[in-house]
């Protein structure tokens, strides 16, 4: 099974030959790969070298934390990759940015309001969690739209708080 794996914006052609052989960009490695205790912690022996990584799954990417460094990875299989190349680079960037709560918490302040113009880096909302006040900032300039929460409200992780259009 062949995959095109993008690590921090570099592409690797990874071919999984069988349970113990993987070819990366033409170089064949003898591997032994196991999930530890059924957790998203993985032990990998590559030609005898022992590595251990946390692999976190997010919406479309994987994050690999190994040897004290975090790598962002996107894995697509060959067929899908061909399709994407033929039809352009995947889904078009949506015009709307949804500010989601990075963690559960209490809304302390919303210094913006519907329709307000904002610049990149402006504070959109202050969320208290673990006794710290965390400022959630705008990733780009735009106009605030649909503020869905109120000051004093408890929100869940990943709950959409407001949008920027």
């Amino acid at each position: 099974m062949k995959y095109i794996t993008t690590i921090n914006e570099h592409e690797y052609l990874v071919d999984i030959l069988d349970d113990h052989r993987v070819v990366v960009n033409g170089v064949c490695y003898v591997v032994d790969f196991e999930s530890v205790s059924g957790q998203p912690v993985f032990s990998l022996l590559v030609d005898g070298k022992s590595y251990e990584a946390y692999v976190y799954e997010s919406d479309s990417d994987l994050e690999v934390l190994v040897n004290g460094a975090l790598y962002t990875a996107a894995v697509v299989d060959e067929r899908e990759h061909r399709l994407r190349s033929a039809f352009g680079s995947g889904p078009v960037q949506s015009g709307e940015f949804y500010l989601k709560a990075p963690m559960p918490g209490l809304v302390i302040d919303i210094p913006v309001e519907d329709g307000q113009k904002i610049g990149e880096g402006d504070v959109l909302l202050i969320l208290e969690s673990m006794k710290m006040q965390n400022e959630l900032k705008a990733p780009r300039a735009g106009v605030v739209s649909r503020v869905r929460v109120k000051v004093g409200e408890n929100v869940e992780r990943r709950q959409t708080l407001l949008s920027v259009i």
Binding site: Y3, I7, L44, V46, V55, G68, I126, M130, N134
Partner: protein
């Protein structure tokens, strides 16, 4: 004389205090919020009583209820730990008023040192140098503060009068940004300590944050246990501490001089029990009083490691009216200790807090390693309390040994279920500046970066690619699997029931 102690706290510090009590043969009473029914301090205590819902205000800050439980359970003393009611003079007074012992200083000392303005004025009067600021004056209005600020000069710090742990603290670089920062500092202080008062302090640049551990008994003996280096901070929260300080090193004369000043500061408020005097030390080894923490400090274990003194046990002995078990002459710092605060926060995402259930946990162990924690596999890290999930302390004969040991301990430490700042500490251990001991309080924020610092390890993107691809590959394979497993279940649900019963 008390033989049963109520611990008015949660998390690692409640567990730490419980251990000391148990090792002294004392009975223990835990209190807990609804979020903490399964917490370690509840499970390890002899008795445990519910305080109320998860938010601190309805549980761990309910001083009335805590005192009531102490009386009901027959506890003769209350240990407040740090945070929550740790530095509340009114609570200490209420405890004494009920005829219970308070394992900490007298309310008057807490009050004097707790109001940072009063504290600075008091120690200044005792001849201890202080950092310039709005000392002596509590409760200034925003207008007054804005007027004084230019006199002190920028950059300066807005600090919570009742504060600690970096909460309600803001760095101010000019008058323009000051009103907004005052507002957010007050808001955070109000929420953390129930007191929105703030004061101003000059920001000494290139300075080190060094603190002295004090022990004082009721018989007039006051000693210090040497210093701790606490300069590695982010948003004024300590992240890593070490003892001794590499800046003081073997300058024994400086160590004793700061130590004596600390003792004098403690004596100026007739201090009893354990406390910590924080100093700023500039490049020329001038030192200034910053504040006194009138309680057990998070980082106390590194002092325990290098001096061999069990500070919590000593606290309890002092509260029982005993004299200190050691004199100043007995105190010797041997070897080197480092503490990394392991927080549930994502160093790759601006240190955002991370919550969730810990599904898997491997603690580092072996020679010279101590872990203080209140979590275990299955425990839920909730958004209600602070993000400290464990303290990893190592001890070595030399600073180099301690660093190498910390490095291997961090590597061994596995926490699954929440993101932690362990990768941050790993990068720090790899940083040449840290290794050389060349850092100040602004190092982490100004000269450290998760991407570029700690280049000791060479990048391994091919290995990351193999991990990612194999995980993605297995996920595809497993999807098929799940369906198959499910088909078996649906065809024979009795089997599942039996299986669950067997494996329960």
């Amino acid at each position: 004389m008390f033989n049963k102690v109520l611990i008015a706290n949660r998390g690692e510090i409640a567990v730490r205090i419980l251990r000391a009590c148990r090792e002294l043969g004392m009975e223990t009473v835990a209190v807990y919020s609804e979020a903490d029914r399964q917490a370690l301090h509840v499970r390890l205590a002899d008795e445990a009583y519910l305080l109320g819902p998860a938010p601190s205000r309805e549980s761990y800050l309910r001083s009335d209820k805590i005192i009531e439980i102490a009386k009901k359970s027959g506890a003769g003393a209350i240990h407040p730990g740090y945070g929550f009611l740790g530095e509340r003079a009114d609570f200490a007074q209420a405890v004494l008023d009920e005829g219970l012992a308070f394992i900490g200083p007298k309310p008057s000392a807490i009050a004097a040192m707790g109001d940072k303005g009063v504290a600075r004025a008091t120690v200044a009067a005792a001849g201890v140098p202080v950092v310039p600021g709005t000392e002596g004056e509590g409760g200034l209005s925003n207008d007054e503060l804005l007027k004084i600020a230019p006199e002190i000069g920028f950059p300066l710090l807005v600090k919570a009068t009742a504060g600690g742990g970096g909460k309600g603290m803001r760095e101010v670089h000019n008058l323009q940004e000051m009103p907004l920062l005052l507002q957010s500092a007050r808001r955070e202080a109000e929420s953390a300590f129930g007191d929105g008062n703030v004061y101003l302090e000059k920001l000494v640049e290139g300075a080190r944050h060094i603190e002295i551990q004090i022990l004082a008994d009721e018989h007039g003996n006051v000693i210090h246990l040497g210093e701790r280096e606490c300069s590695l901070q982010r948003r004024h929260q300590k992240l890593l501490e070490e003892a001794p300080s590499p800046f003081i090193g073997d300058d024994e004369e400086l160590r004793q001089r700061i130590g004596q000043v600390a003792v004098r500061a403690a004596q100026s408020v007739s201090y009893v029990n354990a406390g910590t005097i924080e100093f700023l030390v500039d490049r020329d080894k001038n030192f200034f009083f910053l504040e006194m923490n009138t309680r057990l400090q998070v980082e106390h274990p590194i002092t325990e490691a290098v001096t061999g003194v069990d500070i919590v046990k000593e606290q309890i002995r002092i509260a029982r009216g005993r004299t200190l078990s050691i004199t100043q002459e007995d105190v010797q710092m041997n070897g080197w200790a480092i503490e990394c605060r392991v927080n549930a926060e994502d160093p790759y995402n601006n240190f955002m807090p991370s919550t969730g259930r810990i599904t898997h946990l491997i603690l580092p162990t072996g020679p010279g390693v101590r872990v203080d924690t209140g979590v275990f596999p299955g425990f839920e890290i909730s958004p209600y309390y602070d993000s400290l999930i464990s303290k990893l302390i190592v001890f070595g004969q030399t600073r180099a040994e301690a660093i190498l040991r910390m490095r291997r301990a961090l590597e061994e430490y596995k926490i699954v279920g929440v993101r932690t700042n362990i990768p941050f500490h790993q990068k720090l251990m790899d940083s040449h500046r840290f290794m050389a001991g060349q850092f100040d309080t602004q190092f982490v924020e100004k000269r450290f970066d998760m991407e570029t610092s700690g280049q000791a390890r060479k990048p391994i993107p091919e290995i990351a690619a193999i991990f990612a691809t194999l995980v993605a590959h297995e996920n595809t394979e497993r999807s098929t699997h799940v369906i198959q497993r499910n088909e078996r279940d649906t065809s024979n649900w009795k089997w599942l029931g039996r299986w669950e019963r067997l494996h329960r």
